[in-house]
Point group: C2
Chain length 406, copies 2
């Protein structure tokens, strides 16, 4: 019988009713003839509470001990989930990271999984039990508790799928799957049956709340098929697969919208070698990533303007750093704008296709939406536009790429 990993996130475990509902999904899998292996996050809010308490009291200074505290959240949900399964008459058993064991590096707070010896879980499965594994946590060779950092439970799930040669890794969340775009903004948006790893990676990179990119990258590396689906009802979600396994050929698979951008324009920089580099140097040193850089000839003769974006919450710090280097760089003016959004179209089908960008520019142009900056890879194009155009821009792009007529 095929092993299927079933990972439930915090929103699927936010209280005991949600947990019972999630357990029902596992029971259905058993009845359908598969062998589920469950991975759980902390119950919604619990990790945040634990972390908040520590931070609030300035107690979070030691990552190793913070990990001990934080991992208790997944311990509670694993035990509770096993109890819920047993309450439904199923055999189940919880496993903490150290019990599997999920061996990690010793970098507390963001440990990397090194190895998962599959023997203990296989024995449990053979014994007819449903193993319920506490996600997000592992153990070092020396026996210390670690946590895996952001997206940690997704990573646990994918790594277990690889270690147990699972048929599939189901990632349960509070939405039915991956959509062509946000259905709250575009009524014709629909759930994709399949999408490729690369597309999901691009979508995750621009902030689409799908799956953490570390977990998707790991799934790609180990060839783990992922299904993103809701825990609230029993129906198929979206499969993340290799390009050859896509069920539909599309130019564009998804359109994402990020409101976490802020635009900065530096006006009147000397147009000479090294001038722009001198502006970005202090930002790089401060670990601030810049995106969507556009350089223009300034209206002032012999000078240049540079426009770029940073994360919204880094805007103030970035402006301060740029102002601090003004004496050296000698620019004339500095303008910033928080009211911008980044629209990104993603699709394997656009690689090597002419006209994909043109479709985008035409669609937005027809609506009178001005494009403030552009960046692109071979399978995605991002544009920066005014925030007020969000809904209209998404709608027109969704139609222009033929996603309306499914």
């Amino acid at each position: 019988m095929a092993i299927i990993i079933k990972k439930f996130g915090g929103t699927s475990l936010s209280d005991l009713d949600h947990i019972k509902n999630a357990a029902l999904r596992v029971k259905e899998a058993v009845e359908a003839g598969s062998r589920p292996v469950v991975v759980v996050s902390a119950m919604g809010g619990v990790t945040g509470q634990l972390l908040g308490n520590l931070k609030h009291r300035n107690l979070g200074a030691d990552p190793a001990e913070s990990d001990v505290v934080l991992s208790a959240g997944e311990q509670v949900s694993a035990g509770t989930f096993a109890l819920a399964l047993k309450g439904m008459g199923l055999k189940a058993r919880s496993f903490m990271g150290w019990q599997v064991p999920i061996i990690t590096s010793d970098k507390a707070g963001e440990a990397q999984i090194r190895e998962i010896p599959p023997e203990a879980l296989k024995k449990s499965i053979k014994y007819g039990e449903i193993p319920v594994i506490a996600g997000f946590q592992g153990v070092t060779e020396a026996g210390r508790i670690t946590t895996l950092g952001r997206g940690g439970s997704d990573i646990t799930a994918v790594a277990l799928a690889a270690a147990l040669k699972a048929e599939r890794c189901d990632i349960y969340t509070d939405v039915p799957g991956i959509y062509t775009t946000d259905p709250n903004l575009v009524s014709t948006a629909y759930k994709l049956d399949t999408i490729s790893y690369q597309e999901v990676l691009e979508l995750a990179a621009v902030g689409a709340r799908v799956m953490h990119s570390r977990a998707v990258a790991m799934a790609l590396r180990f060839g783990v098929t992922i299904q993103v689906l809701t825990s609230y009802e029993n129906r198929p979600g979206t499969l993340i697969v290799k390009e050859k396994d896509l069920t539909e050929r599309r130019i564009i698979s998804g359109i994402a919208c990020s409101d976490n951008e802020a635009k900065i324009s530096i006006i009147g920089i000397r147009d000479e070698p090294g001038a722009v580099a001198a502006i970005f140097k202090p930002l790089a040193e401060a670990g601030i990533s810049v995106d969507m850089i556009v350089q223009d000839v300034s209206k002032d003769g012999g000078l240049a303007d540079v426009t770029f974006t940073v994360d919204k919450d880094l805007l103030d710090r970035t402006l301060k750093l740029i102002k601090g280097s003004r004496e050296k760089t000698g620019f004339k003016d500095l303008i910033s704008d928080r009211n911008v959004i980044k629209l990104t179209v993603v699709g394997l089908g656009m690689a090597g296709q002419a006209g994909v960008a043109q479709t985008m520019f035409t669609a937005l142009g027809e609506k009178g939406i001005n494009i403030q900056a552009i960046s692109a890879t071979d399978i995605k194009i991002s544009v920066l536009v005014q925030e007020k155009h969000q809904k209209e821009a998404l709608k027109s792009l969704h139609a222009a790429y033929g996603l309306d007529k499914r």
Copy 2:
């Protein structure tokens, strides 16, 4: 340097301010030249919350998985306590039961400690760290998490004191030590400097909130010196020691008062062999302990009355069982009274001494307090009186046994 175990209960860890205060006690011990090893309970209320959640949702049916959930409480406090110590500039490291390891039997929910290999803790101490051990929890030979049942963290502390050959085991609580009687009821009550294991066991048996008797019995067996003291300030508490190490010779060491008793009188039982036994049989079968049994000749000729006590919360069940057997036992009447208390005087010094009981009866008699039942061992006498006499009875006994003039 001498190892001293320092165990902090839930009231000493109820929030992060309390934890920092407890950590201060540990720092003082380091500064005084000893090597503290910390044992922590769950933060006040946490275990109850976890358990309550499970019970409330009918999820507590599997003790092994309940143990996984419950033990997370001590995991959080151990990590948090280690962080607090580190925040004070001390080296510290948390240990879960499985990391020590504290090997137990596999009886989930009430596991017995089998063995504590001391190597890991000794290494940590040698390395200059303060080990902070999650109390109440252990691990089976097969690697499953267990909990030790009521008084579990005290048991962890005493067992560690034995395993590490500690000089002393400090049990921190919210009172300054063990008192001659409840200072809230008798203003002349004072904190004892020393008391014997046997006396503490008797006091624990009658519900004095001192320490769990399982932990005291273990301390007696392994010769572990215990100090009961407050975590709120830095001053000595009460030492629990062997008889030969008592610093003071007293007839009576303490007077306890339990309001958890209910009195039952069965009136008019046939005064013949086996009649009384027939009444107690269904209670024994139901696992209900009876105490303070008194048999009287009934005012009705040829019949007997029997009076005894049970735990207050078992009264209704007990009455039902007795009524259920009325056809067989054929008693005339059944009377119960919840408004009673049990006063117990405890003292090694009373063994073999004449007049100790007489002092008690005289003192209560002079105040017009009627004694409804009596029970005794060689080092304690308990009497049952009306609840309304509580304060007056305690005061008069405290004076009568010379405890007022310290």
